[in-house]
């Protein structure tokens, strides 16, 4: 890892930066996420995510005043209460679980991975799903595993793995979520939740890099 999270910013500054970056990327890709969802779902994923992160951004100061773990939990409950749909409980549960994994901001890659694993487990449990079902898990799981291997450049690894994993959802036939109702017709399209996960991972990397 070229830069440790705690070196970039600590406490509320980090949280503020993370919220800002994720909020920005979701808004910038709102229509794209809807379009992806139109192809194999119900065309609302961009709106759902935007509604959630607008609420999070609106509460940014309040959230940033919390300890890091509590801040993630608060972001999670905000998403649960504002998003609705499938992505709300899933991202919400993920962040609530990641937040519960520890009070302070992670100071090592191992700590980052621990939070990611907690998040992935929560999504699997809430969604009764696993990799290969053409969902956000098909990005979140490979990225977690790649980081767990302790790569030399964690940020590049996270970005690269996320991008590849996203692309790998294209040929998949969905077996979970709304796209599953399409059966074979779900193949040939990126999964919207996989794309939003990749966008969030990219935005987090940007913050960690200090961009």
């Amino acid at each position: 890892m070229t830069t440790e999270p705690s070196e970039v910013a600590s406490g509320d500054a980090l949280v503020t930066a993370l919220i800002g970056a994720v909020h920005d990327t979701i808004l910038a890709h709102r229509d794209e996420l809807c379009d992806l969802d139109r192809a194999i779902g119900d065309a609302d994923h961009g709106h759902n995510m935007a509604r959630g992160f607008e609420a999070v951004a609106a509460a940014s100061d309040e959230i940033a005043a919390l300890p890091f773990g509590k801040a993630l939990q608060k972001i999670g409950t905000t998403l649960v209460m504002k998003v609705g749909g499938a992505s709300g409980p899933l991202y919400g549960s993920a962040l609530m679980a990641a937040g519960k994994a520890g009070e302070d901001a992670p100071t090592s890659l191992v700590e980052v991975v621990a939070r990611l694993e907690a998040a992935v487990d929560a999504v699997k449990q809430r969604g009764k799903s696993d990799v290969g079902a053409k969902t956000m898990l098909d990005v979140l799981v490979p990225v977690t595993e790649a980081l767990k291997a302790g790569p030399a450049d964690p940020l590049a690894t996270a970005r690269g793995t996320a991008a590849e994993a996203l692309e790998a959802t294209r040929p998949m036939v969905a077996t979970k979520g709304r796209a599953a109702f399409l059966g074979e017709r779900s193949a040939g399209h990126l999964d919207p939740g996989a794309r939003s996960s990749e966008l969030i991972i990219d935005a987090v990397c940007d913050v960690v890099e200090g961009r």
Binding site: A43, H47, N48, R51, M81, V83, G84, A180
Partner: protein, 328 residues
């Protein structure tokens, strides 16, 4: 996109405010968090029925809140399931001490949000999942089937049983039985347009229709050339009879449900075709419902539902109901 609205952002709130005013003696509408209850909730000692889901399917579910049907409904954003806070608040508002039954359509979002709410809520909470859409084969897709128009029938029949005092376990069993005895398939002649999106969810050529459409505009079995009402009824009723394994001589409730943009003139014509096809299968139509009940915004199209009836279910169907959209 042209819609009668001020803006996509305010449509849902304004619509609920209008609904509240137009049915003020019947329902109470809360806007933050959003839910609708019977005006006389909570009913002490009665199991409370709570449903909900994305908006855009009106009159489902808020139109079914009232005596003999739902105690509360939680409208989500258009085509987006409600959030747990809405559901928890609704549960608390209507819980009469005898437990709460959630009636949930089988979509990942609805299932998860209602599940989270059930985890948070105090007291006995059970769930009936509806998954009557036979367009999508259950076996090949582990998400299972979609819940569509039979949800209305489940809400009516279980609502009547709750009103007469059945307990939570019995109501859950009844709801599951009605759902298991139901099959639905829909057809779209045009796409719906989600207000916040502003353009049709899918494109259909002037001579095409989508067979097996979902109520959010999800594609169905296949895109085909426009079919006659008779041919549509034949395919749908045939698929449902096979799926529900309806035997000759069995009695059913036949629901021809409009998707929102199709006029009654056509729905009654399709009902006539469906009725004739039921006759061909030796299935006896003992009860009927024709109209817009489980819609998909402004989509032109319809679905046909058959629900197996026995004497008790027929009696519960006939039992008095007093809601905004269903009353007898």
């Amino acid at each position: 996109m042209k819609k009668l609205m001020n803006s996509p952002d305010t449509l849902l709130t304004e619509s609920l405010r209008g609904f509240s005013a137009a049915h003020s003696g019947l329902v109470t509408v809360r806007l933050d968090p959003m839910f609708v209850t019977r005006a006389d909730a909570p009913r002490k000692g009665k199991v409370a029925l709570v449903s909900g889901g994305g908006s855009g399917h009106e009159p489902m579910h808020a139109g079914f809140v009232g005596m003999g049907m739902l105690d509360a409904a939680c409208p989500g954003q258009v085509f987006t399931s409600p959030t747990p806070d809405q559901i928890v608040a609704a549960i608390e508002a209507v819980d009469g001490g005898a437990g709460v039954l959630l009636i949930v359509k089988n979509y990942a979002g609805d299932v998860m949000n209602f599940e989270m709410a059930a985890e948070i809520a105090e007291g006995a909470v059970e769930t009936v999942l509806t998954n009557d859409d036979v367009a999508v084969e259950a076996s090949t897709h582990s998400q299972g089937r979609r819940g569509v128009a039979a949800t209305v029938i489940v809400e009516k029949i279980v609502g009547a049983a709750a009103e007469r005092g059945d307990d939570l376990a019995a109501l859950k069993a009844l709801g599951e039985a009605v759902n298991a005895g139901s099959g639905t398939m829909g057809v779209a002649l045009t796409s719906c347009t989600v207000p916040a999106v502003g353009r049709p969810t899918f494109d259909l050529a002037e001579d095409e229709m989508e067979m097996g459409i979902g109520i959010h505009g999800e594609p169905g079995r296949r895109r085909v050339a426009m079919m006659t009402a008779d041919a549509i009824a034949k395919e749908i009723v045939g698929a449902v009879v096979e799926d529900v394994k309806l035997a000759k001589g069995e009695e059913v409730l036949l629901l021809v449900n409009g998707m929102g943009g199709t006029p009654l003139l056509e729905l009654y014509g399709l009902y006539d075709a469906a009725l004739r096809t039921c006759g061909d299968h030796g299935v006896a139509v003992a009860r009927s419902l024709v109209g817009n009940y489980c819609t998909s915004l402004d989509m032109a199209g319809a679905s046909i539902t058959l629900t197996r009836l026995d004497g008790e279910k027929a009696a519960l169907w006939d039992a008095p109901v007093h809601t905004a959209a269903m009353r007898w």
